[in-house]
Each structure stands twice: as C-alpha cells, then as structure tokens.
C-alpha cells in the first residue's frame, strides 16, 4: 500500500508541475481515440476518414472544453451516416435532437458519458461508465448513460441497415425508416442494458454513501457484482450466451480500472495549479496559486507527541495539527486556514506561558 501512496504523491507533484501540458496531451489522445473508433466502426465517408481530418479535429478539441469534443463526435458521425444514406442521417439527427431536448439539456456536465459509452463498447469495457458515475456523480446520471446505450444500439442497427439495398424511391426510404425504428424498439437487449446500467449506478451510489470504512471500494465491488449478475441473467434469458465470457472479463477489467481511477482521483482533484490575474489601484497581480493540501490516506498512523495537548483541542483542529484533512472539510479548508493559523499561534503562546 505504501508504494502506491508514494507513487500517488509522485504523480501528483508531476501533474502539478506540468498540468497545462498533461491536460492538453491527454485531451488530444482521448479525442484521437474517439475519432479513430468512430472512423473504424462507421467510417463510410472516405473524406472524413482521412487521418488528417481526425488529427485536426483532435487538435481542436485538445484546446477547447469537453463539450466541443462531444459536438464534433456527433457531427462526424452524422457526416458518415449522411454519406451512406440521407434518410438514416435524418433519423440519427432527430433522435439526437429528441434526446437533447427532453433529457440531455438537464445534465450538461455529463454529456461526455453519451459519447463514452459507444466508444467504450468498442473496447468491450462500457461497464466502467456506470461504475464511475455511481461513484462520483448522482443517480441523475442514469439519463445520459441510457442515451449513450441507445446511441450504441442505434449505430449497430444502422450498420446492419447499411448492408441492405438502398435506393432513393420513397417506398424504400420509408421501409428503411420503419426497419430502423422497429429494430430499435423491439431490441430487448437494449432495454435490459439500460435497466442493468441504471441498477449499477444506483447500487454503487447508495453503497458509497454508506458510512463505513472502504465504502467506495466496496461500492465498486457491489457495482461489479450487480453488473455480472444482471448481464448473466439477461444474456441467458435472451439466449446470447456467447457474449458471457467477454462480458465477465470486461466487467472485471472495468472494476479494476474504476478502483485505479478512484485511487488517483482524490490525489488529482485538488492539485490543480491555478493562474489568476487581477488588479487593484496600485498593482497588476499575476498570481500562480499552488494548493497546499496534503491528503493523507486514512490508513497512515500519525504519532502524537503530546496527547494531553491535543486532547484539549476540538476534533477538527486536531486533524489539522496532524496534517490530515477530513473529507468533509476539504472544501472549507482554505477558508479556515487563516483563522486556524492565528488560533494555533495563540494557542502555542498560551501553552508556553502555562509551562513557565
């Protein structure tokens, strides 16, 4: 455990030093993966499929907020489908619009989940999304997750429809349309997946909210178990048992990845170096604010030299002397810092006086 903690601390300081570059490069890589997966799975338009297009778009999304990546991914997908058949692209656009108008505009910060699920399905580990969302978000995240699942199955159907004979007559167009809608709504696997993903989010969320040690790790385990049992049930029921092996392996990998993410998340969340500019009437200030908080793991024992001295302090102050931050006070930490500093100094002085 100790080596992991040291590794975490090292990574943290590394991240703190080069935050701007690491963020940009990571965003670029993620965007590149997303566009490559879109291109390999439904890359019908050879113009959009060129590597230079993917490169330019990835570069663009490396320097812009993550919402732009979601938008670009949607546009590229629509472009590919449009090349294949106009009516199919109209269906995709309409379903996307309905999703946005009725559901996604209420959870704007979780838009990436909609893109992540189809992309991760391609890598066989979509289960990581409900696990991570259950761990870090609210049950409201069921909405974008469900939309992502619907999109994944929609593209599966479109791929099938692409093999059909497509002509431009009105009758064929309507037939294609009814085919897509029929297969989307009669797809039991789609509805089972949505139900199971929602269950995973709920189980993970409620377990991690419980007040016992390692609640977060146990929540991941419970979510993983829910996932395996749920998909086992649905795969057997729908008789698609050839997927079971892949599903179990994917779930286990997702669970492990979630634990890793959760382990580093606490370290990386509060480490961002901030650059701010402001002015008063005398100066311009260009401030680089480096966070000072040291989040120690609860397992680390801290030796107290003078128990008597600490025993008189209130509990929250005691934590500060030992340089450990309780999770609920992390937010308030900065604000309290000054007051505490003064208090602590006063306390020291008065203590010395006593000893004399």
């Amino acid at each position: 455990m100790m080596t992991f903690l040291v590794l975490r601390a090292r990574l943290r300081s590394l991240y703190q030093k080069h935050e701007i570059y690491i963020d940009t490069v990571l965003k670029f890589l993620i965007a590149m993966i997303v566009f490559q997966i879109i291109n390999t799975s439904i890359g019908y338009d050879h113009r959009l499929k060129q590597i230079s297009v993917a490169l330019v778009l990835s570069l663009l999304s490396a320097f812009t907020p993550s919402a732009i990546l979601v938008l670009l991914a949607a546009l590229i997908t629509i472009g590919h489908v449009y090349y294949l058949s106009k009516i199919l692209s109209v269906i995709v656009i309409m379903i996307l619009l309905i999703m946005y108008c009725l559901f996604l505009r209420f959870t704007p910060k979780l838009g990436y989940a909609v893109v992540a699920i189809p992309v991760l399905y391609f890598l066989k580990i979509p289960y990581i999304i409900p696990l991570v969302l259950g761990l870090f978000a609210t049950p409201l995240s069921i909405v974008p997750t469900a939309c992502g699942v619907i999109l994944f199955y929609l593209f599966g159907i479109i791929k099938e429809a692409a093999t059909m004979q497509i002509s431009t007559s009105v009758e064929d167009t309507l037939q294609l349309y009814t085919y897509v809608i029929d297969s989307l709504f009669s797809n039991k696997q789609l509805f089972m997946t949505i139900v199971i993903f929602s269950l995973i989010i709920l189980v993970t969320y409620f377990v991690r909210r419980m007040k016992f040690d390692y609640a977060r790790e146990i929540a991941v385990a419970a979510g993983t178990l829910t996932c395996i049992l749920g998909f086992l049930f649905s795969d057997l029921k729908l008789e698609v048992s050839e997927q079971i092996g892949v599903m179990i392996a994917g779930t286990v990998v997702s669970g492990i990845l979630t634990v890793v993410i959760q382990f580093f998340y606490i370290a990386l969340d509060y480490t961002g170096v901030e650059h701010v500019q402001f002015e008063d009437e005398d100066y311009y200030y260009y401030v680089k604010a480096v966070p000072k908080i040291n989040v120690t793991a609860p397992q680390v024992n801290v030796k107290r030299f003078n128990t008597q001295k600490n025993a008189t302090l209130p509990r929250d102050l005691m934590g500060k002397i030992n340089n450990e931050v309780l999770p609920e006070e992390e937010e308030d930490y900065e604000e309290d810092y000054e007051e505490y500093h003064e208090e602590y100094q006063n306390y020291d002085v008065s203590n010395k006086d006593d000893s004399k």
Binding site: V276, Y285, A289
Partner: protein, 133 residues
C-alpha cells in the same frame, strides 16, 4: 507596499469568479422566482420541440396507414389524445424543473455567501487603509 493578506483574499475571490463561481454570479443577478421562471420557460420550449419531433417520427412510421385512412380519421379525437399526452408530459417536466432549478439556485446562494464574506473582508482592508491615510 504589497499587502500579503489582501493579495490572498483577492486571489481567492478571483479564483472563485473565474471557476465555479462563474455560473453562481450569473444566477445572482436574478431573483429566485425570475430565475426559476426563465428556466421553466426554456424547458417548455425544448420539451415542445422534442414532443413535436417525436410526433413527426411516429407520423412517418405510420405514414402508409395515415395516408390510407386520411379521409375517415376522427381528427378531434386524435387531437384530444395528442394534447392530453402533451399536457401530461409537460406537467412532469415543469414540476421537475421547478424543483431542480430551485434547488440549484439555493445551492448557488450558499456558495455565494462565502464569496460575499470574502468581499466584505476585502472592503474592510480598504477601510483600514483609508483610516491610516
């Protein structure tokens, strides 16, 4: 002379203003009722659009049937059905968004109160400076 305490407060304020406080400060320009009402209005517009799109999709799906029965349709009845469903969906979304956005507003107020506290501290610095001359 640089005043370190003042710089610290100003940095804190600037950080809040540029990051998570951006939306809070925008929201603070509205009264709660106005804010919620605006959001509900936006919701109504978008839900209406979504509903029309869904109707359009259903219409396309049933196009053949609709065209063949166009003459014998009881349009009043269908209209009532469509309108009733619309009102039901709208009621759900409007109630949801009233609750959701009220909670969001209250939450942003809580954050803002911290911000105002720091602002007050800053203004007290200025008062002290003025008193010194």
């Amino acid at each position: 002379m640089l005043n370190n305490k003042k710089i610290r407060i100003m940095t804190k304020l600037a950080l809040y203003e540029q990051k998570e406080g951006k939306e809070d400060i925008k929201m603070s320009k509205y009264y709660k009722t106005d804010y919620v009402r605006l959001q509900v209005l936006k919701t109504v517009v978008s839900v209406t659009m979504g509903y029309i799109l869904i109707l359009l999709m259903i219409g396309m799906y049933r196009a053949e049937y609709i065209i063949s029965k166009l003459v014998t349709f009881d349009f009043v009845r269908i209209g009532q059905y469509v309108l009733g469903l619309y009102i039901m969906i709208m009621a759900v979304f409007v109630t949801g968004s009233i609750i959701g956005y009220s909670l969001k507003y209250d939450y942003s107020r809580k954050n803002l109160s911290k911000y105002y506290k720091s602002l007050k501290k800053l203004s007290s610095f200025y008062r002290e400076e003025k008193a010194k001359g």
